[in-house]
Symmetry: C2
Subunit: 245 residues, 2 copies
């Protein structure tokens, strides 16, 4: 029996992504990182800088998944409302975090306005994670990790906390097929039915890559994965299999 997978959701908060002004670099980063950590990323969602949307999405994701990562909306300006949304998701208030006030003052200097100091207002019960050397450390509230939107900052912070999420890894096999998807559907379907713990994906390519479909097989159980691959290769005419890796 495989242990239960840990699941995660990524919530990207920012009008600039939805309006096409900025390309979201953070969800592809999370997808790759979480996969390498053996965590099942089960949802990515991009939502606007609206308190109610953030509250509803965080609340639902926190219930459904083991870990939730948010990106964006933690700066000092009027459109930074992530902490307000997260607080509302958990039905708690916002309270000034003295440690954060000190860090912000160190970075921005004294005499900041009330607006700018909103950055130091965290949901009650929030914790700063791995504070050392960071202007603005990741903030955790229950199973929700709040991270900034700027990709460089987000990556630096996630790097510092990622080992706490590591699980058993995924193994992957790839089969490159020179045939239309319609013609291999049965072989894929029967292999998928026989090996339930193996996830089989089929991705047609439109370009001229020397193959027409990439088939992937993935599992946390390497021996089962190898057996599933052998079964699939037994079902496909060998002349259409360009390579396996």
């Amino acid at each position: 029996m495989l242990e239960r997978s840990r699941t995660a959701a990524v919530i990207i908060i920012g009008n600039e992504i939805l309006s096409g002004k900025t390309r979201d670099e953070n969800s592809p980063y999370f997808a790759a990182q979480l996969r390498a950590l053996g965590v099942d990323l089960s949802l990515v969602t991009v939502i606007p800088d609206i308190v109610e949307d953030i509250a509803n999405t965080v609340s639902e994701c926190s219930r459904r998944f083991d870990y939730v990562f948010t990106s964006g909306g933690v700066g000092p300006t009027h459109d930074d409302v992530t902490f307000e949304g997260v607080a509302r998701a958990f039905g708690v208030g916002l309270a000034e975090n003295a440690q954060l006030t000190a860090l912000i003052t160190r970075k921005c200097g004294e005499g900041l306005s009330r607006t700018a100091m909103r950055m130091a207002l965290l949901p009650e019960g929030a914790e700063l994670v791995n504070v050392e050397g960071m202007n603005f450390p990741p903030v955790r509230i229950k199973n929700v990790y709040v991270l900034p939107g700027v990709p460089e900052f987000l990556r630096a912070k996630f790097e510092k906390i990622k080992e706490r999420f590591r699980q058993k890894p995924f193994y992957i096999k790839r089969v490159y097929v020179e045939e239309d998807e319609c013609r291999i559907a049965d072989a894929l379907s029967s292999t998928a039915q026989e090996f339930e713990g193996v996830e089989i994906g089929s991705y047609p390519k439109s370009g001229n890559d020397g193959f027409r479909v990439l088939v992937t097989l993935e599992s946390r159980d390497e021996a089962t994965l190898v057996r599933a691959l052998e079964r699939l290769l037994g079902l496909l005419p060998s002349k259409i299999v360009v390579k396996t890796e």
Copy 2:
């Protein structure tokens, strides 16, 4: 008074995106296209190839937004379950579409298996949109447009239907500021409060671009936008404004 904005949600369906194997090219495409069409993209969500997830997400998005676009999961293999999910979202069954059967047979040849012919099973009440010249036309069910996952195919199909979504355009102004976000938060906040129809965004840059924050102002009302820009420029010390465009 501005007319009510039309809203849209994009649902990207595919394990390959969530597992980091494939980068999602479709949601950035939709973000740019919908913005140019004057449509408010209000949600992007990436979900796995699971019927129940698709059903729940489509059902909720169809109620909340004017238009819903899905990408992926419409091929002939076992992991293509988008139509099943959409049918369940609307509480209808799947029925063979004769027009689609003919198109698929034309593309893949005769004698396809039942598995492969699942592609021709559409939710009851679905309509093929702009059929001419396409192997697999976009499918519409109520306000939901079902499109393929391969970016090249998705774009070709969306190009053919996009004019039906066109609204009044957005106008945008950009102000490049050489100052920390903390120090301009008040100016942004008071401008945003005064001009409610203008959306003001503030995006700190980590790199060395000759400015530290990009401020954007957007509205469907050009005259109001110009007044908001003037107000903001009046509130910011001129020496920190690198340029406006």
